[in-house]
């Protein structure tokens, strides 16, 4: 099992299961938000166990586990492994005309390390005290004082980090070393560029979280005080056995040094997928390919110097806070360029509203909403009202859920015929799309209003205690029902894939009449991918070239 396609598929299937886990954790959490004083339905309560939900009443400490694990599972175990692990592994070698990854065995190892990390994290639900409960951000001292589950979280993150590093090395070495003859850098499909920068970010940013995880594990297991200042008094009692002298903010810096680039790891592959799907379905080249490449490269570089915009309210001085506000505004420009080029790609096209195209199109305004709402967070003055409120939750979910997840769905529908040799069923795809679009917005749009009204995130009772949150309490039921419906609208998707796998209409090698190299390999591609090494003589998107007989010219065609 070292073939890049097998590894990619393993990544994909595993990550989809984790996506389901993250979704289920979220449903329990959303029940609690909608009906904070009502016990869970008996069947679910029994499943959660007496220790977590006695009599069906979710305990606050369990709610905190749900939030922390929903966030961690979604980001580290579901969406990044899908976007970078599955799509990257499966498609990068195919799109550059390579037979496999540069280091196939390391590639397989990266999958198993990811699986191990994920299982370690999930196993923590079964240790005394339950899973990690200090948020996906694991701020100390809270996380250092937390129950045993935090050790599992840290160990899991460490393993996932090693896995990401191996995967990143592989992608980079493959793109640099194994491109087909004639495939110059400026002829790479945009998808490959996006994956390359993603890999670079993982390679350079993840180690800082690993270092932080080592420090935090030492604090928890060896009694060091990297993140514990002198003189802590916990529950009225001075904390014994710690030397003190450490700095809680050190963790925050190390964490966000990874976690900010990590959000670009979540979004860049989505842009890559959208670019491929849009060109094939508009029958036009990408508008401004060079500007897009320049933008992702610039974005990758800048993403390493904006991290402290998550920390405006920790008491930064004038110089630092000005620096991070300015860099945050600067890094939003390449995003504007990317979204503009995607929209302009439509201009002059001949648009086919296929199912993957619908998801890719929806990605554009959803990313737009999520990205635009990042701007007020990036200005410290307006962040005061919004920090730690549902506005932030709305901001990033628009980017990761109807943003990245939609792009992932687009990608799955788009490349399913390549992977299996069969087409998916159109009407099921339409149900999946329209249902998901409506329900996603129903869950997340109200969050901006809630945030402006001052309702905080990570509240076990959705703000029942607070006067200013009272008007929003009843919105939560609507949002929760929408989340349930969102889940139900995934059934057509699952059914579609399951049925099409066996009974789908045979697709042939190039059902979309697309240009990039993977479409000239057989469907499904055999071990080694190509019958003979492709010779590349043209750019990635030669659609509708004037004077040609067909409206597309594959990259491998002379």
């Amino acid at each position: 099992m070292t073939d890049h396609k097998a590894v990619g598929l393993l990544y994909g299937v595993t990550a989809l299961v984790f996506l389901l886990v993250g979704f289920l954790l979220m449903l329990v959490m959303r029940w609690q938000l909608a009906w904070p004083t009502t016990p869970l339905p008996p069947a679910i309560a029994a499943w959660m166990g007496e220790a977590n939900a006695p009599g069906g009443y979710v305990l606050p400490e369990f709610y905190n586990q749900l939030v922390a694990m929903h966030g961690s599972v979604m980001i580290f175990l579901a969406v990044v492994p899908l976007a970078a692990g599955a799509f990257g592994n499966y498609l990068v070698p195919l799109q550059i005309g390579a037979p496999d990854m540069a280091f196939p065995r390391l590639n397989a190892a990266s999958y198993w390390l990811y699986l191990a990390g994920g299982l370690v994290m999930l196993a923590s639900f079964f240790v005394p005290g339950g899973a990690a409960n200090s948020g996906w951000t694991s701020y100390p001292p809270l996380a250092v004082l937390a129950t045993r589950g935090q050790d599992f979280w840290l160990a899991g993150i460490f393993l996932v980090g090693v896995s990401s590093t191996l995967n990143a090395i592989n992608v980079l070495a493959t793109v640099v070393g194994l491109r087909a003859p004639g495939l110059t850098l400026m002829r790479l499909p945009f998808f490959v560029w996006a994956q390359t920068i993603t890999a670079l970010l993982l390679l350079l940013a993840f180690p800082s979280l690993q270092a932080a995880a080592v420090f935090q594990l030492m604090d928890r297991l060896a009694g060091t005080s990297f993140f514990l200042p002198t003189g802590l008094i916990v529950g009225g009692v001075p904390l014994e056995g710690f030397s003190g002298g450490g700095s809680p903010l050190l963790w925050q810096h190390l964490f966000w040094f990874l976690a900010h680039p990590e959000v670009y790891v979540l979004i860049l592959p989505a842009f890559g997928i959208a670019a491929e799907v849009l060109t094939a379905n508009t029958r036009r080249p990408l508008w401004g390919y060079r500007a897009m490449v320049a933008s992702v490269v610039f974005m990758g570089g800048m993403s390493l110097v904006v991290w402290a915009h998550h920390m405006f309210l920790t008491g930064m001085g004038v110089v630092l806070s000005t620096f991070f506000q300015v860099t945050t505004m600067i890094i939003s420009i390449p995003s504007v360029v990317l979204i503009t080029t995607l929209i302009l790609t439509l201009w002059g096209g001949s648009i086919r509203f296929t199912v993957p195209m619908l998801f890719a199109l929806a990605f554009i305004p959803m990313f737009g909403i999520g990205g635009l709402t990042g701007l007020p967070l990036g200005l410290a003055a307006s962040d005061v009202a919004l920090h730690d409120t549902y506005y932030v939750v709305g901001h990033f979910h628009y980017l990761v859920a109807p943003g990245t997840l939609f792009a992932i769905f687009a990608g799955i529908y788009h490349w399913f015929p390549k992977i299996t040799g069969r087409r998916t069923i159109g009407w099921l795809g339409h149900v999946h799309f329209w249902g998901s679009l409506a329900t996603m917005n129903a869950v997340f749009l109200p969050m901006f209003a809630m945030g402006l009204m001052g309702v905080n995130r990570r509240l076990y009772d959705a703000g029942l205690q607070y006067a200013h949150a009272q008007p929003t309490l009843e919105w939560n039921a609507f949002m929760t029902w929408s989340a349930v419906a969102l889940g139900l609208f995934q059934l057509p998707f699952v059914v579609n894939l399951a049925v099409s796998l066996r009974r789908g209409v045979p697709a042939g090698d190039n059902p979309w009449e697309a240009t990039t190299l993977e479409w000239s390999a057989p469907s499904p591609p055999p071990h080694g991918n190509f019958e003979r090494t492709p010779q590349v003589a043209r750019g990635p998107y030669d659609y509708s070239v004037p004077g040609e007989a067909r409206d597309f010219a594959p990259q491998g065609q002379p």
């Binding site: 590093t165 070495a173 270092a211 932080a212 080592v214 030492m218 060896a222 060091t224 030397s243 019958e531």
Partner: protein, 182 residues
């Protein structure tokens, strides 16, 4: 006709090692800057006088240097295998010395929990020692199960290992300066 090049070329192996080291540099960079920031921010930093042993550390430096020097670069003879194993053995000696040193510190009640100096020292040198152990394992693997591959590929791997030792040495020098000399 399927032409499957199942092996990365020599230059790709070298590139892979450089990428890995870039990532490792970020790891140690984060660890060292954590140490530096804590130390710079501390009102009073514990003295290493009588706690850390500079002579022992210099001895360990010699061991590491020897391990690096024995590591063969691009040689193709059978003597290479012996040098590989010798380098691995020296690295193992380094790790053993470290383990003994840790044990002695713990016995003397100089634990990581005692203060931030010892906390940082144990953690940073510990992560470094794990890398030395990893290098020893890699050397053993190259001399053993990983030996029977094409000539060019083997020499690329040997080069990669050589690079790795140089990196591990460089990190050690940074630690040496950071803990014993400033």
């Amino acid at each position: 006709m399927t032409t499957i090049a199942t092996h990365a070329s020599a230059s790709t192996v070298r590139l892979g090692m450089w990428l890995f080291l870039a990532s490792e540099a970020m790891l140690f960079g984060s660890l060292v800057s954590g140490y530096a920031l804590l130390r710079a921010g501390a009102p009073a930093w514990p003295s290493s006088e009588g706690v850390l042993n500079l002579w022992l550390a210099l001895g360990q430096t010699l061991l590491l240097a020897a391990a690096t020097l024995t590591s063969p670069r691009g040689l193709a003879s059978t003597a290479v295998r012996g040098r590989l194993l010798a380098g691995g053995a020296l690295a193992l000696v380094f790790v053993c010395v470290k383990v003994v040193e840790y044990g002695a510190k713990l016995d003397a009640n100089l634990t990581p929990a005692a203060n931030l100096l010892l906390a940082s020292w144990f953690t940073l040198t510990g992560v470094h020692a794990a890398h030395v152990a990893g290098g020893a394992l890699a050397a053993a693997w190259l001399a053993g199960p990983g030996w029977n591959v094409a000539e060019g590929r083997r020499s690329a791997r040997l080069d990669a290992l050589g690079l790795y030792w140089l990196f591990v040495d460089a990190v050690w020098l940074v630690l040496l300066v950071g803990f014993y000399l400033v």
